[in-house]
């Protein structure tokens, strides 16, 4: 079943000069059709201004289409009277952890969303406890969020969403401001949610290594989808990706560069293990027994 259905989506906005006269119309999303299967882990990559964030913001009606249709769990995002169900089904995590935390104590912050949904107290407590447990932050429940690291804050933001029991989590560069371990914490947490709770994840990122373990990678350029496939399929197209201002993980690039020198490694190598294994096989074949 598809949790997200996007049909011929167009999003345009107008630019104005200092006298507030209209200068031009910018087409940020240009006829995108896309379905995302429930329970899948999808990564969207693309250069700055390619339309990825604009696309994601249509899923939970932070933006509405200029043309075309967006359905979340079968519900049209244009039906604004259903907005709260829609936003409950698809939560969003943003780039800056400091802009997403509002309460002075971790557990209160996590409770904020479901409390606003009118969840009764007992149920609320249970949800907060489960959500904190899920992101590995139970030990910090009574702490002040401003003492936490960036990775921990993002996990609190994720817990706040989990407590609303969403079917889908949209993440707009959640790791851009984090140190390497913070990045790893956040990415591992969302993979667990996807695997163990079946929550659909749509992850926008500029770090290609984070796309490697996704079910599917979508590449955007100029408001259009230009590639769509498994990480292996997409990362095999190194030169095309570079033309879209993208890159590939270092290990994939290394294999690609060696191929150019006549080393017969397969394209689309994604992990260090795959790389060393492939190189080892190759070297062994060359040695006469």
């Amino acid at each position: 079943m598809n949790i997200i259905e996007i049909l011929n989506l167009v999003h345009e906005y107008k630019e104005y000069d200092e006298n507030e006269t209209e200068v031009e119309t910018v087409r940020a999303i240009d006829d995108v059709t896309l379905s995302i299967e429930e329970g899948s882990f999808v990564t969207i990559v693309g250069h700055n201004g390619s339309g990825k964030s604009t696309l994601a913001k249509h899923v939970n009606a932070l933006l509405l289409p200029t043309g075309g249709t967006v359905l979340l769990c079968g519900q049209d995002t244009m039906k604004t009277e259903e907005l709260w169900t829609l936003r409950k089904n698809a939560g969003m995590v943003f780039q800056n952890p400091d802009n997403q935390i509002i309460a002075g104590i971790v557990e209160e912050d996590v409770a904020f969303g479901p409390e606003n949904l009118g969840v009764p107290t007992e149920e609320l407590e249970r949800r907060v406890e489960q959500a904190l447990e899920r992101v590995g932050m139970t030990a910090f429940r009574m702490n002040s969020p401003n003492r936490l690291s960036g990775g921990q804050k993002q996990r609190i933001a994720i817990a706040g969403m989990l407590a609303m029991k969403p079917k889908c989590i949209l993440m707009d560069e959640p790791t851009a401001m984090l140190d390497p371990v913070g990045r790893k914490e956040v990415i591992e947490t969302v993979h667990e949610l996807n695997r163990e709770e079946g929550i659909t994840i749509v992850l926008i990122t500029h770090y290609m290594e984070e796309a490697v373990d996704a079910d599917r990678v979508i590449v955007m350029d100029g408001g259009k989808l230009v590639m769509d496939g498994t990480p292996r399929e997409v990362f095999s197209r190194v030169e095309e990706l570079k033309a879209c201002r993208m890159t590939v993980p270092q290990v994939t690039e290394l294999a690609h560069e060696l191929r150019k020198e006549g080393v017969e490694l397969p394209e689309g190598i994604l992990t260090i293990d795959e790389f060393t294994e492939a190189l080892w096989k190759l070297a062994r074949a060359k040695i006469p027994e």
Partner: protein, 283 residues
Amino acid sequence: MELTLKNTSFSYDPGAKKPVFAVRNVSFTIHEGEFSALIGHTGSGKSTLVQFLNGLLKPTFGEVLFNGENIFDKKYPLKELRQKVGLVFQYPEHQLFEETVLKDICFGPKNMGLPKEERIERARHAMRLVGLSESYEEKSPFELSGGEKRRVAIAGVLAMNPECLILDEPTAGLDPAGRDDILGTVRTLSDTEGIAVVLVSHSMEDVAVYAERLLVMNQGSLLYDDTPRAVFEHYRELEKIGLSAPQVTYIAHALRDKGFLVDEHAMSVPELKAEILRVLGKA
């Protein structure tokens, strides 16, 4: 130019019985034209050091010396120091506010009280340094892409002719090509203009390629101060303190474990590629 931290420490509550120190006894000197990167986990004290370096924060203990003079001496002209040691904050594009790119870049020189012709001359020079052509002069900063906005913000600091440029995560949120553009530009500034650069970064891949020196902070102390190659030898220790090495370093080590005797010090894709070709007998 020499910018020195001498036994600097910082505590938010120095009067407390057991004061907590955000920075503990850190010393190093930044030299002319040197490209250093400052790395460390969130809360390791990087930002505190950055604020010491351009006089925004006074160490609880220790001294900050610019060309041998203590910048916190009563008579020291701190305003001039902040022109000589330029600081580009995180997300500097949020600080753009003028109607045109040229006016925005002129803002610093204007505050310095420079005559109009000189302001414009400096702004144009700064634009050339960051690779913005003249056609950008009259554009609104707000119609530019993320990477272009960041260039404008950096040019605004460069227009004050700094001798040292400190950049706090200048590539956060930029796409891979944008990251390379900005860091390539900064590298050129240090190579050709002799500007000392201190880059605060979370990307080990970037610092491996661009920096000559790594300053690694952990829990308020300076843990390593060495070339990136020497620092990444300690990749296991780096992991324990919230950091890592570039993926290439891990590939090199994994290859050695498999019996390929590549140099484990390789830090970039071209370096490791050359090493693998050498080992395979193809180079």
